[in-house]
Symmetry: C2
Subunit: 136 residues, 2 copies
Amino acid sequence: MVNAAICEVDHMRIGELSARTGTPRRLLRYYEEQQLIVADRAPNGYREYDERFVDRVIQIRGLLDAGLPTRIIKQILPCLDKPRTIYFPDATPEMIATLACERDRMSDRIRCLTRNRDAIGEYLDAVLDYNRPQDA
Amino acid sequence: MVNAAICEVDHMRIGELSARTGTPRRLLRYYEEQQLIVADRAPNGYREYDERFVDRVIQIRGLLDAGLPTRIIKQILPCLDKPRTIYFPDATPEMIATLACERDRMSDRIRCLTRNRDAIGEYLDAVLDYNRPQDA
DNA sequence: TCAAACCTTCACATCTATGTGATGGTCAAC
DNA sequence: GTTGACCATCACATAGATGTGAAGGTTTGA
């Protein structure tokens, strides 16, 4: 019997999402409270996540780690959906201005980080160079 | 009289540094407390800064904005002095490992920021494209 | 001599992202 | 039916960067 009625496996509860993203459950609930993610609810009230939440959560954590507050991340996330879910007419001029501003701030951060990372790299190269000149 | 005894102008007090870096005085004192900067003191107890503090403070703010805590910034800053002020023998293996780790974390942040910034850019391009198709 | 504009230290408040624990419901296995 | 591993909400605590103001010293200029 090649019955195709396979019960969907494409969902997980908060514990699994926590394990797969290395994120404390507490924070997954916090991100939801901040409206960065919206979880479905099972009949018993448990949160239900599908596969796409894994990448989404990792992305959120990356942006938080890079210094963006949840308020800004919430505005950025809709831009990342590949098939556009945001219809352009909904984009107010203020929203567009905010996004452009944040994009520029991100460029600033990238410049700053790159410059400093490279300086650290040079320093480390110099130190390693200094520490093993045994065989000339 | 071509007297060369010009009183040095290469120093400023906290108010001027604050104005020139756009940083509240409160934070300049905080950065000093966290040992990110070390200010000279005038005889009357006032902090005295020279020109180099301007760039240094801007750099600190950039790194803070990019998500690095003061504890890490304190370790990074010595790498940035062009004529090396840190003698390599002083660099402990743990310190080197920490720096390498932070450098990698910065690379991660750069990747994350770049990806998201580009996504915002694409989104904005699409929105602008949508908003002015008047003259075909 | 007085006022304004600096500076000092100290202390307490705030915001954001987090940690941690209490209290209790759901569910599966034994 | 009880135990253990999940889940829920709520609440309180912490840490880091920052805001704000009090109380007082210094300097400059009217």
